[in-house]
């Protein structure tokens, strides 16, 4: 028998390794599904790995005005996203790092990454960096209240904001068809779309100057720096999808509480892979169906998410007051 502490640590490492490995595949499959739905052949799902590898091997070109903040940011953003990914349960509940922070802490970590990325956007002193940082501030500051209201609704339903506890509560089946949860889920989906810069808020494939948000911020990056930033962005998508799956559909997750079964872990991984696949296809379908909004329309979109989340909380209060 392996001692519990060591097995937990090993699992945590496996979790991080899987997250790092799965993130590019997730993005690759999304692109693949999208191009198939568009009737194109499209690049293979493993193309993002090749891109990252190529970028890592390339020479780094830094602008003359780049300061240490610009050079530190890729490493920081990447490691913050990795830590955030390590804190979200994906296929096992109760990993060591899942206790290091609740939903709020994870949201705050993502905000820290955004903080540094915006600073890096402003660092070179180009108009594009500024435009990206400025729009990111708008989107971020509208998305964050919505997330917190979602967290509030979840805290009301499950009594805590700790992710494993919420997942366990949902698993226990005492929820039923809860309207608050449904509203919170819709709100969270909208936020996830906005935070990850997907259509209709931002277009990850665009390089048309006036429409880009995230791409404008990272325009000056090249070589390994760009690789890290891109990897972080992929991880972010993974984090949001695994948050959704952990909060609203945690079925199949292995529980680490009463000793781990090897098969259980494998099953958890399989189910998680399935979740990712579904998510990739869904994202592709949604992106094909909707056109990108102009920036000030995003305000209403995210405002809608916020209002849904507030409604989720209010409903919960009505139900509870008995």
């Amino acid at each position: 028998m392996i001692p519990a502490a060591i097995s937990a640590l090993l699992l945590q490492l496996l979790h991080v390794a899987l997250a790092l490995a799965a993130a590019p595949l997730l993005v690759g499959s999304t692109r693949f599904a999208k191009s198939r739905l568009q009737g194109r052949r499209g690049p293979s799902p493993i193309q993002p790995y090749r891109d990252l590898l190529r970028l890592l091997r390339k020479e780094t070109v830094l602008a003359h005005d780049a300061s240490w903040i610009f050079r530190v940011t890729p490493y920081l953003v990447f490691s913050i996203m990795t830590v955030a990914a390590a804190m979200v349960p994906m296929f096992v509940l109760d990993l060591p790092l899942a206790r290091a922070g609740d939903l709020i802490a994870i949201v705050a970590l993502i905000a820290t990454a955004r903080f540094f990325q915006s600073l890096a956007g402003l660092d070179i002193g180009t108009a594009f960096g500024g435009i990206g940082a400025s729009r990111e501030a708008l989107i971020g500051s509208l998305a964050e209240p919505a997330v917190l209201m979602v967290a509030f609704a979840l805290a009301l339903v499950a009594g805590t904001t700790a992710l494993p506890a919420i997942a366990r509560f949902v698993l226990s089946g005492g929820v039923g068809v809860e309207v608050s949860l449904a509203l919170a889920l819709i709100a969270f989906l909208i936020v996830a779309i906005a935070e990850n810069g997907r259509v209709p808020v931002d277009n990850p494939a665009t390089h048309l100057e006036l429409t880009m948000v995230h791409e404008a911020m990272v325009l000056e990056y090249s070589g390994r720096n760009l690789a890290l930033i891109e990897a972080a962005q992929m991880l972010k998508l993974l984090v949001f999808i695994s948050l959704i799956s952990a909060l609203f559909a945690p079925w199949g997750m292995a529980s680490a509480e009463d000793g781990l079964d090897f098969l259980e872990v494998l099953a958890g991984i399989a189910v998680f892979g399935l979740h990712l696949l579904v998510a990739a296809i869904l994202i592709a379908a949604v992106e094909l169906a909707i056109a990108k909004m102009r920036v000030f329309r995003v305000v209403e979109f995210l405002g809608g998410a916020f209002i849904l989340a507030v409604l989720a909380v209010v409903f919960r209060f009505v139900t509870e007051a008995s």
Partner: protein
């Protein structure tokens, strides 16, 4: 200990009185700052130790002062906490001031009031009767007024000092009436008597409202904040740091003292009022900060935001208390106090940093700065830490207390009354918006001032400070990091104080060295140390790993900028440009933000011009009408200055007779 503390305060006052005579001496500033800092450090550390060791409440009555009352002092957990919170950050500010004040135009002017100010602040904490409290409160106001007036040749400073003095007098008046209402007909102004009163005073409602207004004015609660964004930029930077880090905290102490201690068990609407006022302050404060170009004014508005957060948490704690949920009340109070402590450090840091920038460039407008990160690497590192803390982001200290406040919000469903149950989540949403806007605001402040290319000659030639200025910044930044990575240090203090007030401990193991789990071990947790360690380790590891496999080849080149780089720094994003989307979304209705664009016709060589106009509703609808009314009344009363002696005498006679009539009527 109480006696020793009082002697220490007396020493500070003596130092302040002696300072004018030391003035000619070259070493006078260093002596005054050094002694003040040392005394503050001693007070702060002693208070912290006493708080953690769980000392008893000590009281001291001295037989002078007002006849038939004497003066009363008392040192309990709440005052100990505030003593620690204000006195541990201020020595670091003093270290900074040692280097900074010397470069001011008239360094000696701020020298004498400084120790007196600190002594007065501490005296407020020790007061155990309304007389001492108000006396110390007023001494604090006057000392602050002198400090704000340090640059008295500047018309803006004089105006700011005047507005401050007017608002401080208003605050004193309101508090005087509030204590009168608490004391009631018996007129016993000892706090111990108020505390021992078995039933809620008859005028409790009036007293609470007056206390909220009186302390709100001093703390800068919206819409009573108008003096704050004027006084902070006008004062020298170390004074601004003390205003935000110390004086505003004393106002919050007054609020907590009166509401939690003196007026008896709370009614539900007290908490709700504070919750709404706090959320409003936080949101409007940060929105206004987002629109500012003046760095120190921006920081001043951010102080309003943080005061709002603390008041919100205090209100939450009162609401829990009114519902007899004492453990949650303790949690919310501990969160409020922790934020008081954290804010003292990061706001002092930011104001001192603003002072450094002003010294180096003589600029406070961030749109004329830029590129400082290359000229001042250390300052920018410390300011970055301050900005992260003020934005409430992990792993710095600002995050910990904001996280705790949110945890208290999440627990609000156990409230029983329907109105607070619905209002707290909605205001909690406002708080979430505040947090997000704060992050955007500090990206803007730091990014525009420090990053990019210099937008002015002065910014291009800025030089990093040396010696004590940098040391002061480093100490403050280090404290912010330590308090964020090991939140237990600050939280233990806050928990002890909350225990002293509410009488209930947080759940066992709620605050550990590694984990903070305020609702017990099963609930939400945050481990600042692990998060910090994991991020740092990961970043360094990735760097080393990549460097080993593919040794980095690096080249410097012109910026890419989609192929059209423009070397002119004026093409960079400005602070106004950065906040334009947020301004359009939020400020159009609240601040009536209007943009006027002056676009010259083709062929005209004059530059295009964009002007943004903002209106502070508190000025337009609050202060302006009052000012006009006062002016109108005083114009009428002006005639009284030119009466004959006989008329003056008859006025006095009329007043005397009226008072006698009132007394006679009261005896019936």
């Amino acid at each position: 200990m109480l006696t020793l503390t009082l002697l220490g305060l007396l020493l500070l006052v003596a130092l302040g009185l002696a300072a004018p005579f030391l003035r000619p001496h070259r070493l006078a500033p260093r002596l005054v700052h050094g002694l003040t800092g040392a005394m503050a450090l001693a007070l702060g550390v002693a208070a912290a130790i006493r708080l953690l060791a769980g000392g008893d409440v000590s009281e001291l009555d001295l037989p002078f002062g007002l006849p038939w009352t004497g003066v009363h002092f008392r040192l309990d957990d709440l005052s100990c906490f505030f003593m620690a919170a204000i006195n541990i950050a201020s020595p670091m500010v003093m270290v900074f001031a040692d280097g900074y004040a010397r470069r001011q135009a008239e360094p000696a002017r701020a020298l004498a009031p400084l120790p007196v100010f600190l002594a007065a602040c501490n005296l407020v904490l020790l007061a155990n009767d309304a007389f001492v409290f108000l006396l110390a409160w007023e001494l604090m106001s006057v000392a602050t007024w002198l400090l704000v007036l340090a640059n008295h040749r500047d018309a803006e400073s004089r105006n700011a000092a005047f507005v401050y003095l007017a608002m401080a007098s208003l605050s004193l008046l309101l508090l005087l009436l509030a204590f009168g209402a608490v004391a009631g007909g018996d007129g016993d102004f000892r706090f111990s008597a108020m505390r021992e009163a078995t039933e809620r005073p008859a005028l409790a409602t009036v007293a609470v409202l007056l206390a909220m207004l009186g302390c709100g004015v001093k703390a800068g609660l919206v819409p009573l904040h108008i003096w704050l964004p004027l006084a902070h930029p006008a004062a020298p930077s170390h004074v601004s740091a003390l205003l935000s880090g110390v004086m505003v905290k004393i106002a919050l102490y007054g609020l907590a003292r009166i509401l939690f201690d003196l007026v008896g068990p709370p009614v539900w609407w007290w908490g709700v009022t504070l919750v709404v006022a706090g959320a409003l302050s936080a949101l409007l404060g940060i929105l206004y900060a987002l629109m500012q170009r003046d760095l120190k004014r921006l920081l001043a508005y951010s102080t309003i935001e943080n005061v709002g957060l603390v008041v919100f948490a205090l209100g939450l704690s009162l609401s829990f208390r009114a519902n007899e949920l004492f453990d949650l009340s303790a949690l919310a109070l501990a969160a409020a106090l922790a934020h008081v402590l954290n804010h003292a450090f990061f706001k002092s840091l930011l104001f001192c940093g603003a002072g450094v920038i002003h010294e180096a460039t003589h600029e406070r407008d961030i749109e004329k700065l830029g590129g400082l990160v290359r000229r001042m690497p250390y300052t920018s590192l410390f300011m970055l830490m301050g900005a992260l803390a003020a934005a409430g982001l992990p792993p710095l200290n600002g995050f910990v207390s904001e996280w705790l406040i949110l945890q208290a919000v999440f627990a609000s469903s156990s409230l029983q009354d329907n109105l607070p149950r619905l209002i707290v989540p909605l205001t909690g949403a406002a708080l979430a918006l505040t947090a997000a806007l704060a992050a955007a605001g500090f990206v803007r402040a730091f990014g525009i001032a420090f990053l990019g290319r210099p937008r002015s000659e002065a910014a291009a030639k800025a030089v990093e400070p040396t010696g004590s200025m940098l040391t002061g910044l480093a100490l403050l930044a280090g404290s912010c990091l330590v308090l964020g990575v090991f939140p237990v240090i600050g939280l233990k203090l806050a928990e002890s104080a909350a225990h002293g007030v509410v009488g209930v401990d947080l759940p066992a193991g709620a605050i550990g060295w590694l984990f903070v789990s305020p609702l017990g071990s099963g609930g939400a947790a945050y481990a600042g140390f692990f998060v910090f360690l994991a991020i740092l380790g990961m970043a360094l590891g990735v760097r080393a790993f990549l460097g080993r496999i593919w040794p980095e080849r690096r080249r410097r080149a012109a910026a890419w900028d989609c192929g059209f780089p423009d070397p002119n720094p004026a093409t960079q994003y400005t602070a106004s440009g950065y906040s334009q989307p947020l301004r359009r979304v939020f400020a159009t209705s609240v601040f009536q933000a209007r943009e006027t664009v002056d676009m010259p016709p083709p062929g005209d060589a004059r530059p295009a011009h964009l002007e943004v106009r903002l209106v502070d509703p508190a000025w337009n609808w609050g202060a302006e009408p009052v000012r006009r009314a006062i002016e109108a009344v005083t114009l009428r009363l002006n005639a009284l200055q030119f009466l004959s002696i006989r008329r003056y005498l008859s006025l006095m006679f009329a007043a005397l007779v009226t008072l006698l009539l009132i007394v006679a009527a009261g005896q019936q």
